[in-house]
């Protein structure tokens, strides 16, 4: 459910872009997803295929690049991936603070095929 409206917004965005450029179809989409957003690959793919049906984005390759959330140590400055249920710095043990890295959810680029 979470991914359904996301996939719908994605299809709408890339289709509008393709249409504005008079493209025949969208062949590839590079989607960047931070893991703290919780969007699952399988669900995104499933709802994307369903939303894209019959439009310019139908059959496009959905290339999803996941970004690991990074935590920053306020003491030594290290940026690290956290383990479950802890935010502690693996080097100095200080408690880290979440950064905005890992919250991404955007289309980096698309590939379109021009109309013959």
């Amino acid at each position: 459910m979470h991914e359904a409206s996301a996939a719908e917004a994605l299809v709408k965005m890339v289709s509008a872009e393709a249409q504005a450029r008079n493209a025949a179809r969208v062949s590839r989409i590079l989607l960047v997803v931070g893991e703290s957003t919780g969007y699952m690959r399988e669900s995104l793919e499933f709802y994307f295929a369903a939303s894209a049906k019959g439009g310019l984005a139908e059959g496009a390759l959905l290339d999803i690049r996941y970004v690991k959330p990074l935590v920053r140590c306020p003491s030594c400055g290290l940026e690290f991936e956290r383990k479950r249920f802890t935010f502690d710095c693996p080097v100095c043990g200080e408690q880290g603070i979440m950064t905005s890295i890992g919250g991404e959810f955007y289309v980096d680029s698309i590939e379109i095929e021009e109309s013959a």
Binding site: H2, V71, F87, V107, I110
Partner: protein, 216 residues
């Protein structure tokens, strides 16, 4: 042909949310988006705040639910001006839904507006809907690991309300672990314990909201 977009998936929602926010600000309406799991105590919290903040200024509530208008009827029974959005399955409120309901609400300038989001700690965190700030409600019964499991909902909230504190012992709530998680995901967010049943703890939160409104 490759086309660089670098465009947020919810760019359209965000643009509409900005418009909504500007419109509300122009009318001096202060808007709070309330997040939390089903049963966390969002409606009780709003009721407790309405008792206090409703004395300063008019107050309206938008209730988001997947189905039913139980909460809206309960609020109206208390004399609170409440409006219902039934999403029919959608797990969060978005800017177009708020825009639509605002067009049929009669709100006084200078009002408080509370928007109770769908009970869910995941997607409501991803959407701005025209609010001045988000607050997240978590009950001790949900467990002390919520900031670790749903960091986004906490990270995007300006304050955290910890409800049902009287159950803490019974459910084995580890407050130190909860606070430690929050210190990493939302280091600036104050934590307000609130007993929704008695109203205990509502006053400090109301005072904090008045201050937030004042400095907005």
């Amino acid at each position: 042909m490759r086309v660089e977009l670098k465009r947020a998936i919810y760019a359209e929602n965000d643009a509409q949310a900005s418009e909504i926010h500007e419109g509300l600000r122009a009318r001096s309406i202060f808007t709070v988006n309330v997040l939390g799991s089903p049963g966390a105590g969002k409606t009780s919290l709003i009721t407790r705040l309405a008792e206090r903040l409703g004395a300063d200024a008019p107050l309206a509530v938008i209730e988001g639910d997947v189905a039913s208008d139980i909460d809206t009827r309960a609020l109206r029974a208390l004399g609170i001006d409440a409006y219902q959005i039934e999403t029919g399955g959608d797990c969060h409120l978005n800017a177009p839904m708020i825009k639509a309901i605002l067009s049929r609400m009669k709100m006084d300038d200078g009002s408080w507006l509370f928007i109770e989001n769908i009970g869910n700690l995941i997607c409501p965190a991803e959407f701005v809907i025209g609010e001045d700030l988000k607050i997240v409600v978590a009950s001790v019964a949900e467990g002390s690991d919520k900031p670790y499991k749903y960091p986004a909902a906490f990270a995007r909230s300006a304050a955290v309300v910890l409800t049902k504190p009287d159950l803490a012992e019974a459910v084995g709530f580890d407050e130190g672990f909860f606070r430690s998680g929050l210190a990493s995901v939302a280091p600036k967010a104050p934590i307000f314990p609130l007993n929704g049943k008695t109203g205990e703890g509502a006053e400090p939160l109301a005072a904090w909201l008045r201050e937030a409104r004042h400095s907005a």
